[in-house]
């Protein structure tokens, strides 16, 4: 498990290489596999320590699946996930492990370092458990219940903006935003290094969304956390992320530092996506780039570049050849044959 030179940057916490998750499509009487939905297909990204990586894309682009496949909640079909784990190392110094090679026990130990926050603030908390039971469940699983547990839980509750007396209540007594805070407190219980946030604010009202985003940002600094922030809302992702990866039909289309990506996109999909976002400025009568048609079906993807049927810069080459994710500029990756050659418009950063 030694460093084999794949990692260029010593700050890197998690590195995903060639991650694939195919779901079989069965058909006929005998439930024979007739094809695969390539939910995640050859995805590469990395997360640095204490950094937020936004994973953004439209529904069905595989962003949620990718997040779950990293943790092996969905067993990946192929690929490598390397993580610098604190919990699994005996020396106390973080050590590189390959998540896909771990056995059940080791994986469970690594789960102390990586936790998740879920989209649905109602569904992600068991309605039959009290707040105390919910937040201590991870501790219970990892045999970390002690005499100071209750105090620890109260501290967590206060840290996420809830009151100590909430500890004995049940989820249904809270509003959506408060429930999401309970979920956040739970994800912090084991003191992780990385939190995978799966659309954590998309079910919340605007005012509560802002509170939650601010909370996540504060926690990141306090606990030196890294986030993988999975979301479909480009403005939310821009706000919270240090770097952003744009996904399209199971693949990464573009990955770069947030400001760089938004102001100088290198992939036509990123450009079109950003121009599609309705902007809260009534005087801004900008020219929208309308992407014709629908998102490609991951069960029956088009040949060549997946985006070519909707791309306004399409060339013959795009229809046959799948573009690789390449580093076009330092720390700016794009999967387009003509990345860097096209004159794409970004958003002016205010």
């Amino acid at each position: 498990m030694a460093d084999n030179g794949m990692v260029k940057d010593k700050d890197i916490l998690l590195e995903v290489k060639g991650l694939k998750k195919y779901f079989p499509i069965t058909g006929g009487m005998m439930r024979k596999v007739v094809g695969y939905v390539k939910a995640v297909d050859d995805v590469n990204f990395f997360v640095r320590e204490g950094e937020t990586l936004g994973l953004v894309g439209e529904s069905g682009c595989g962003k949620t699946t990718a997040g779950r496949a990293v943790l092996r909640l969905y067993e990946p079909t192929d690929g490598e996930v390397r993580f610098k784990s604190r919990a699994l190392s005996k020396s106390g110094k973080p050590e590189w492990v390959s998540l896909r090679e771990l056995n059940k026990e080791q994986l469970k130990t690594v789960y102390q370092d990586i936790s998740m926050i879920f989209q649905d603030p109602i569904g992600s908390l068991n309605p039959r458990m009290t707040v105390y039971d919910i937040i201590t469940e991870p501790l219970l699983i990892h045999n970390k219940i002690g005499p100071s547990t209750e105090e620890h839980v109260i501290q967590l509750l206060q840290r996420v903006g809830l009151r100590p007396e909430h500890i004995r209540r049940y989820p249904h007594e809270f509003s959506g935003g408060q429930r999401q805070r309970i979920g956040i407190a739970r994800s912090l219980a084991l003191n992780p290094q990385l939190i995978i946030c799966d659309e954590p604010v998309s079910a919340l009202d605007v005012s509560v969304q802002a509170q939650t985003l601010n909370l996540l940002n504060d926690l990141k600094e306090d606990f030196n956390l890294a986030y993988i922030f999975v979301a479909h809302d480009l403005s939310v992702v821009q706000h919270i992320s240090d770097r952003v990866a744009v996904m399209y039909v199971g693949r990464i289309a573009e990955m770069a530092e947030s400001i760089d990506l938004y102001s100088h996109p290198l992939h036509p999909y990123t450009e079109a996506l950003m121009s599609s976002v309705p902007r809260p400025n009534p005087r801004l009568k900008k020219q929208r780039i309308i992407m014709e048609g629908d998102v490609a079906d991951p069960g029956n993807p088009p040949p060549g570049c997946l985006f070519h049927p909707r791309c306004r810069y399409v060339q013959d080459r795009c229809k046959t050849e799948v573009p690789e994710l390449r580093e076009i500029k330092p720390d700016h990756y794009a999967a387009c044959h003509f990345a860097g050659e096209l004159d794409l418009k970004g958003v002016e950063m205010g």
Binding site: L107, F118, Q119, R169
Partner: protein, 379 residues
């Protein structure tokens, strides 16, 4: 402006009530509002106390005590005697045997000149309370010093045994069969259903095919065949357990399917995914998350299933295929009433039916009440 002051007070009060209302306290709160279901629950509690736990105490006689009063008519308690004088202590009249000259059958008629007062907590036949504590006190009875004094609230049978006592003892078996077979039914159904839903794959296919096979059999003939297959030579206790287990084993399929469905949808719940993301084991997920989520459904199904089991036992025993005398159950008691002759001669054999009826009705009402109370999405 007084309103402005009053409202925060109100708010406080409401808040205090709201604190930590668990799911079950909400269920209880809702259940209490359903009067019919609460009454049903009390009736059932009465049944279980008198029939299942303490029939020896509540019955004036033991189930096997024979007397000379063969198929004697019920002796009802009175407060006012034939002369019109009132006594606070209830009494029963004595019975005289008469032979009908035409039919040459024997018959009992009420003799209003003999009065046997009834007493509460009288000494009677010795028995063991709960099978352990020796006792002699019965809830009610006639003067133990007078051996002629008898009370047959619901008449007697062909061997002169007191119907009322036998119905209470019969209830013990019938009600117990309901509980026990439903317990077996729940165990098998929930375990197999949960396993089938959680693991899927081969487990799922095997379990589901078995349930389909079971549901494809016509149930009644299957019972008849299985009931007939129980060897006659077996002791009654073994027959009893055999019958209960049979009842459960044939019926678990429906429950397993429902639990499987609930587990399948529960498996997709985000809180299950959350638990997995913290490294929870399969066992923990099944027992701490998935099965509790099915519990409200399962309890309702069980409550509605118990009367079905009781009726099934009764029907089987009535047909002579379940329990057989000398085991006393509501079904075997009903066997007495299986001919027109016996009903016309001793209509009190039918007194067992209201007991069955009310138990079944109470269970159904209770089940309905629970179902309404446990549905978290209704109102």
């Amino acid at each position: 402006m007084t309103d402005a002051v009053a409202i925060p007070m109100e708010e406080k009060k409401k808040d205090a009530v709201k604190i930590s209302q668990s799911y079950w306290s909400l269920v209880w709160w809702k259940f209490k509002r359903n009067r019919l279901a609460v009454v049903a629950a009390f009736i059932l509690a009465g049944y279980y106390i008198t029939c299942l736990i303490f029939p020896e105490f509540f019955a004036p006689y033991s189930k096997g005590l024979e007397s000379d009063y063969i198929e004697a008519r019920p002796t009802y308690p009175h407060f006012v005697d034939a002369a019109g004088s009132f006594s606070l202590r209830p009494f029963v009249y004595g019975l005289d045997e008469e032979i009908d000259v035409a039919t040459r059958s024997r018959k009992f008629v009420v003799n209003e000149s003999v009065k046997y007062p009834l007493y509460f907590f009288v000494e009677g036949e010795p028995y063991k309370l709960l099978g352990l504590i020796p006792a002699k006190t019965h809830f009610f009875g006639t003067d133990p010093a007078n051996p002629d004094a008898k009370v047959f609230l619901l008449g007697t049978d062909r061997l002169g045994r007191d119907q009322f006592s036998r119905i209470l003892f019969g209830g013990r078996i019938s009600l117990f069969i309901g509980l026990f077979s439903v317990a077996v039914f729940l165990f098998v159904g929930v375990t197999l259903g949960a396993a089938s839903g959680y693991y899927g794959g081969a487990t799922d296919i095997v379990v589901m095919r078995i349930t389909e096979l079971l549901s494809a059999f016509p149930q009644e003939p299957l019972f008849l065949a299985l009931g007939a297959a129980v060897p006659v030579s077996w002791p009654s206790t073994r027959v009893f357990f055999m019958v209960t287990i049979l009842l459960a084993l044939i019926q678990w399929g429906g429950l397993a399917r429902q639990v499987r469905g609930l587990v399948l949808s529960g498996r997709e719940e985000q809180y299950v995914l959350a638990a997995r993301s913290f490294g929870a084991s399969d066992r923990r997920i099944i027992f701490n998350h998935l099965i509790p989520a099915t519990m409200s459904h399962v309890i309702v199904i069980a409550t509605l299933k118990i009367p079905g089991m009781i009726l099934l036992e009764t029907a089987l025993s009535f047909l002579g295929l379940g329990l057989v005398p000398p085991t006393v159950s509501w079904g075997t008691l009903l066997q007495n009433a299986n001919t027109v002759r016996s009903i016309s001669a001793a209509p009190w054999y039918l007194f067992v039916t209201p007991f069955i009826l009310f138990a079944i009705l109470a269970y159904n009402l209770l089940g309905d009440g629970l179902r309404d109370a446990m549905d978290p999405y209704s109102k």
